[in-house]
Symmetry: D2
Subunit: 324 residues, 4 copies
């Protein structure tokens, strides 16, 4: 029989992402309406180990759905990767009467949730990362806002790149995954898109493409470069040297993590948060919420962590053809 | 054996939607890369009947992906609802060597495409409407931009509504479908959401809710009202009279149709446009492109027009609980 | 000798305006650095009469500079227009040890400040209104944000207006003053601008202009109508009837009052707030802060209220010529 | 007697700035309404020397007021710094019947205009640069858009900086002038602002300030660093090493040059463009348009280039106090 849950905790872990506050709000309010109390744990697993734990009511999350960042703060926590840290975390949960825990974050954070679950604390993961690099879900909290932020910045770079007939290399986030780069590449009509999953490091081919485009009369050449490939400044210098075309690099950086969330991020994060609250209310544990094939679903964390996903080939091919 | 397609036309029909230009661009460039010529037909079926037809090449759609509206213009056309009009349209297609046609629009526009297909012109529909009210697809071009535009406007109304401790009724688009209202309702944390699909017209319940919220200490009360319910001004006057709380109506109107498309609208419209171009290249006809269960697909237009969809009950219930 | 000021109050009054929080923050922090205590008075003069008064320190205004609305709330107060109300207000100030008061608002609010000053409470006015209708200053808090909000909305309406080759009447705020309408008229390239200060109510001339523009091949016709003229819906119906061109009205409404303030509104409101705090620290009273001829200045409230300003003729003439 | 002007040219020179298109549009249309023909010269003085000259009519500038960049393109031109280049330029003007020329750009571009004027071509300068570093004017085209772009990006960085309790160094444009840095510093409530005009390069003081703020409980520490000081990445590494607080650098870069212009940039650029067209129509030469002390004015270019301006001390002092 499922354990009865009276009080849950919620924390955000790893890199922050716009929409995390919408998820926190939904977890708090849906749990309250399920008759369950809620405690906020600050600064991720770090704050759990330091017992930075506060009571939350419906008003604690007023006026937060439209805010970037996370009102619970976040941090990375090496101590929680050890068995000792995990046992201490479970102990602190019990001490504070926390029967269940929602962890909003990425795969690394879910691994922590998995350990806590094995130690008797019911845990549910909610996918929060701007990188979209969680295999069990087609949507992660923050990706939609991040791609729009990057896209709007690139639209601006394109204006000035055109006025000066320049080549521009724009580096977007995504250390292991090229989703932000691919989406911006399509949305900004970029002439080249360099993804960790696809780039063959043949810079001569890139240079030839730039030269050919100039011959065709194109007034600018936009290269979207994923963080996972990096080295945009040096690449710009080499391209300028090889082509004779003025080339500048822009690294968009941390602005991609912030900002008021888009409508999609607010809506999906809200539904996912409510869904996670309901899973805990039903006594479920070691699950991660996902949005897959057009529906909200949940997976066993072990299975979720074992899944793989990659760049869609049709979309990548189309992205190359449309930049003609 | 499928008819060989040498030249296609593309038109936008019905209400315009942000992202239509991204779809046009993709149709043009993907067709060209498929070895097919493209003609642009201006002002929808109206322009077809008036032979407002221009040749398009890769440069015709340069610098358009980020633009709102439709570079091909759009119109409603009553003549095309008659058999005579449809036959004339098919005749004009043949006269201009147009073997296939992509129609970007809503159900009404697809009905026109269906007729042309029966008259021997291969046609493909691409769903373009801010209202999301096309049953065969989870995504329609323009919805994502429209909900973000509406949401950002409502965020602003909420600022001043809070400062003055007012009740605000905000009317968003959606004559037959409440999707924009539901999404904004969740994303803006609205206290009440009135949808054509769900509203029971019990205004006393709404009034009681407003009074109760004020007692709970809420500084504002936001009601999102779908266009399909309407009458926001009169509703505001009745609510102010019944509650004694200052109440103002805002009708967001046509600004929801315009603006630079979001990243999602640019990306999905691009892929859908390319997909439609490929369907025509394969000799397909009487199909409509959709995004369903997480994948790009196509349906027979007859089947697509017979489908039904509605508001998700879990999402609607959650939206009500989160506004506690 | 000037009275020594130990504690001041701050309130926002009349319609709220983006940037008011930046001014409050500056008043609080500059006063603290001047060695003066600060109390926040909620809901304008209304809250003063109800003694809704709270202590403020440097942290009370943390994370507010980027927020729309006013953290002190605002209200209109008829009681304060009476001598009795004013005397009660002065009494409450003395009771709470408030020696000086900054009033952020428009001319009506300054009149209240003037009365309090005569009753022995040092008062300073700071111009806060989106309408720019304060004669002693070239800048008022909120105008810059409001015109950008309106302009961006009109850009969107223009997209769809062009796609459908429509005429659009867009009503912007400004009951007595046409500044928002004039600025948007220029910035949006509107074909007609109707200002309270200039409009001769010759609708036939407007209709002729619309017809002539259509003949010249213009794809849309944008009319910016100031709230002070109003009746946009009826005007749209008359124009459509007279021209045969589809014509729609949009009333932008309260969204123009909200939103995160622009850079200018944050910067000028901050400097004006600091300047007001310094005037009180110097023992000044019955002054209003302005930005005039490129410099921050202050005027006697009596003189300020007697000043006049109007629409610049060169700018209005140019606005008409540029829409050719 | 002033030379009669029948045809003028217009060009943009140096770095592009949002609002340049509004100025071009105004110059074209106001000149046409003055009975003067207009030719567009592409790519600045470079394009003049290459005779990249096109006729412009009222429709040439349709639908451009809201666009970033410059439709005439821009470039830097070393050849035009030589007397030979200038003489060739004047010759080409005469060959194309160009009696007068409007040059939109910065001080370097005005120096070119000055030389042409001495060679018999009537020239007028219009200040266009995002840096605000033109002494004769309180406003330059593009500054208002650039500070809003930078401010909005910094708001986003601040969200994530707060969530992670980080120190962030954000580098904004301004090689010789700190205006963008100062405005953003105030508008974003930055804890430190490093301006070329004011920074004493005492990094230990900066480090102490960061440590003290953390002790006071501040959740983030934002340092705005002007491009003219630069080296943000290295500074971040030194600060992290010295304080133990995670510190990241973001260099906003070229996105600050692009984007749809703000309302102010569209309005002021339009009036300045019209004003420049009128000066040429009156037979004036060797003048530069400015906005000074609240009014549009014009100066002799020689005088304008000899003027000096600097950071306002009161504003700088206030900016430091408000970050308490």
């Amino acid at each position: 029989m499922a354990k009865e849950i009276k009080t849950i905790g919620v924390l955000t872990s790893g890199g922050d992402a716009p929409g995390m506050n919408a998820a926190i709000r939904a977890i708090v309010r849906k749990s309250l309406s399920n008759g369950i109390k809620v405690k906020g744990i600050k600064k991720g697993f770090n704050g759990l180990l330091n017992e930075e734990i506060v009571d939350m009511d419906a008003r604690s999350v007023s006026d937060t759905i439209q805010r970037g960042g996370t009102v619970l703060y976040t941090a990375r926590c090496t101590e929680f990767r050890t068995l000792e840290g995990q046992q201490k975390g479970a102990e602190i949960c019990r001490k504070h009467g926390i029967d269940g825990l929602v962890v909003i974050g990425g795969d690394g954070s879910f691994a922590g949730a998995q350990k806590l679950s094995a130690l008797g604390i019911n845990t549910i993961g909610v996918p929060g990362t701007i990188d979209l690099d969680i295999a069990c879900t087609d949507y992660t909290i923050g990706f939609d806002t991040a791609v729009n932020t990057a896209m709007e910045a690139i639209d601006k770079v394109r204006d000035t790149s055109t006025s000066h007939e320049r080549c521009s290399i724009i580096e977007v986030m995504g250390r292991n995954a090229g989703y932000i780069a691919l989406w911006c590449g399509i949305a900004n009509g970029a002439e080249d898109i360099l993804l960790p999953e696809k780039y063959n490091h043949d810079e001569q081919q890139l240079i030839n493409n730039i030269i050919n485009n100039r011959k065709k009369g194109k007034k600018h050449h936009i290269v979207i470069n994923a963080e996972g490939i990096g080295h945009s400044e040096a690449m710009a210098r080499r391209i300028e040297a090889a082509t004779g075309i003025e080339t500048r690099a822009t690294i968009l950086g941390h602005m991609q993590r912030g900002g008021s969330p888009t409508c999609r991020d607010r809506v999906y994060a809200s539904i996912m948060g409510a869904y996670a609250a309901d899973l805990l209310a039903q006594g479920k544990s070691n699950r991660v919420v996902g949005y897959k094939n057009g529906a909200y679903v949940d997976f066993d964390i072990d299975e979720a962590l074992a899944m793989q996903k990659g760049i869609n080939d049709y979309e990548f091919t189309v992205s190359r053809l449309l930049a003609m």
